[in-house]
Symmetry: C3
Subunit: 346 residues, 3 copies
């Protein structure tokens, strides 16, 4: 992988970000770094007041920041209303992977005769593309990935190495699927006959909207009947499990190790912290945030922030308190009795 | 993947399910759907009273249900004692994957000369079958899967794409292993010399019984000494971690994201909810259910339902209560003192 | 895979472990087992007083134990100060995999012309080694693994089947990476523009020190800016998620299903129990232990053992107590009022 990054001038960057440039626009830069680490050929950004202290001493070529901080900036300023967004855009301009994949099908790939490939598709070594697959333009399939029969990937999807799509998975445009992720595996469905389990064939599918990202080693199961549906612009981190027939609304974000049980519907613009668990058959309305490792067993019908659990504490203190948790109902009852007695006295 | 589903008549379905047919048996159907979604060429089922309200308006060709609901059924009834089981059986009849894999070894697969393959085995592209492997009849190995040396798979096992078996893994008949699952990886065993860690080679194996299913991206580690043992008809969901020398009894079911630490024994007919954690070296008796995201640190010797944690609540309420959890022992002691003083007064 | 284990004499074992031999040193042994299971051609060990009861009846050829237990040993004793460490070393001597991989590049592997391979490297079937990769001496790459461009693996690294390294991942010597693990995938970074998400290209890398082990299906993400850094002798179990820019100090151990959010720093000699979650941007000092499934949301600056959560209990008892948890702040306030009233009375 050669260094394919353009050496951009600050003026070019300002234009592409829509930023107001204050300072020397001819300077060329090759990278991005934090205020503390940036050298003279790198741009930095200030998006969080906690790092304002690092601004005066920065050695960056330029800093993306809001107008209020431009005066304090010791180097060229790139003024934007949302510097974090500017950082995101610049990071993508400087991404060495952005154009790293040349179109073509590697000779070791096994592509079904009836698969339909768009323009400038790139299919890596040992990839398997089964019968009936449709790939949009500029789709990249990383080495050793497998695309199951009749699956479809929209334009500009990027699958890293060792991704697995089962049959009939539908993915919109610009999806990014990371290594080890599995889309469309069977949901966990069994009927019990009193003695043991009988498999329920998972006849539904899995549909992902546009601009979905799925982290490494995450699982999105297909539906039992009907589809598992991931909306547009849904961002899913690594080690996440999404069960059959779950629906996730547009623009929601799920951090690492989240698990969502079957048929639960998550609204739009929701944010689930790391390790959050949602029970099955719930409705979570739009605009809900759940903090890390909380378990939600009831529907949430009001936007807001929700939590469960206890904070961490030193173990001996925790032991004493956790024992009392088991007595909590009794403690509350005893308190009620004391209060009543007190009232009698008054 | 062509539509290989038989167009079954309702009479044929009734016969294969052992159901009593009430209505037109000549109607042909091609699929299954919920009462709400089913169209006139689909069968539906009523297995949960919560959906009884959807029965009168269903457009399904027929509904699988218990005798008590047959009268209220506006279309053909397929009467069974356990409609959910009937649904499971019918789903498998209609599964388009059921006969999708033609026998044969793909030319890109690498199969050791001394591997023993049963009748009608299907080995996909880029599969690796190492030395000493024994595959039963009708085994299917999905694309890019790897079967380690000396492993054995019984008749009718179905491995999806990108499954990994380490060396010496023994699997019974009819196992279904989903993509990304890893069976027989090293257990997490190290000895500490006071300064750092020394690896303990994991010399045991991993044995799975008959009718085991393992979800996508799940890990079942091999034993340190002796084997990790998964019983018959054990169903394991996605993102599950089973550590070395764990034993799981027959007919138990583990939902997504469960983690079981080393040497713990889970009984028969147990059900572990999503995200449940079991500490190491525990004994969990037959017939135990643990609700989602509970942590079990002590053996459970009585069948029943077990739980830990706190329910989820609005975050500001949670913060107030979680702070008090840290004072719980003190609260209990203060209450005890008040009670004593009260008794003195009486 | 043939049985390549040397049939060692007890004298040879004693010499290699540095143990004092008491008994017949000429006996040849082929394996290791627990005190209970060991037969006459196997060695056992006693490292935990709980198993002292199994010593008198053992049929092992020899037992590794401390001097204090030598007298009670009915068979040959191999006396060591740290028998568990002796067991670890002997387990590696007896590991049938130790020399199982013959050097060479499998003809189906796709290795870039400019990749640099050390001496006696073993590259399995269908492996992909991209441009600019550097592999040290005796590196083993298991079947179907993918090594991204410009990644480097030090001497004696062992990658099992189906491992994925993204581009530019740096791994020290003697790493063991298990199947399904993914190193260097994108961190979970997005900027919000008020309407939706914009990807932040993850321009940093992932660096692993010497003697690192990573379990099956674990994810270690690359940094956003700057690297994710795993120290020397760090042991990571299966199903673990390590987010971007996390740093883990030397000799720390992370059990299964741990999740660590972005930019958190874990010190040296820390131990995280199964399912532990650490929030982002925390500092955990050296020598911290966190018990299973605890959530840590604040930095920990003192060594010690930390916990959160409630113990598991029978479900109906748990329900009563969990309801009271939601009233806990109110309970504490009511108690305070009662105490005040009591004081007024005194």
């Amino acid at each position: 992988m050669k260094d394919t990054r353009t050496h951009l001038t600050l003026t070019e960057i300002a234009e592409r970000l829509g930023a107001r440039l204050e300072g020397d626009g001819d300077r060329r830069v090759t990278g991005l770094a934090t205020l503390k680490d940036a050298g003279p050929d790198q741009v930095s950004f200030l998006a969080n007041r906690a790092y304002l202290k690092d601004l005066p001493a920065t050695r960056a070529a330029a800093v993306i920041l809001v107008a209020d901080h431009a005066e304090a900036c010791p180097v060229t300023a790139l003024v934007l209303d949302n510097p974090y967004l500017g950082y995101a855009e610049l990071s993508r301009m400087l991404d060495p992977l952005a154009d790293a994949h040349r179109p073509g099908v590697h000779p070791t790939a096994v592509v079904a005769d009836d698969a339909v490939l768009g323009h400038d598709v790139s299919i890596g070594p040992h990839v398997v593309v089964e019968s009936g697959v449709v790939l949009g333009d500029r789709v990249v399939i990383g080495a050793n990935s497998v695309i199951g029969a009749d699956s479809q990937l929209g334009n500009d999807c990027f699958l890293h190495a060792n991704v697995t799509l089962y049959h009939g998975v539908l993915v919109g445009e610009r999806a990014i699927l990371h290594s080890g992720s599995v889309i469309g595996g069977d949901g966990f469905g069994f009927a019990h006959d009193g003695a043991g389990w009988h498999k329920i064939a998972q006849l539904g599918g899995a549909r992902l909207g546009n601009d979905v990202e799925v982290g490494s080693c995450s699982s999105i199961d297909r539906g039992a009947l009907g589809d598992t549906v991931i909306g547009n612009d849904v961002k899913i981190d690594s080690q996440v499990q999404i069960a059959h027939n779950v629906q996730i609304g547009d623009h929601s974000a799920l951090a690492g190790c989240v698990g969502i049980a079957g048929s639960t519907r998550v609204g739009r613009h929701c944010m689930l912290g790391g390790g959050v668990g949602l029970s099955g058959h719930l409705t979570i309305c739009d605009g809900v945030q759940v903090t890390g490792m909380s378990l939600v067993t009831n529907s949430i019908l009001e936007p807001g922030v929700y939590s469960s659990g206890t904070g961490a504490m030193e173990n001996s203190q925790w032991r004493r308190n956790a024992v009392r948790f088991k007595q909590l109902d009794s403690i509350a009852r005893r308190l009620g009795r004391l209060e009543k007695r007190g009232e009698g006295e008054v």
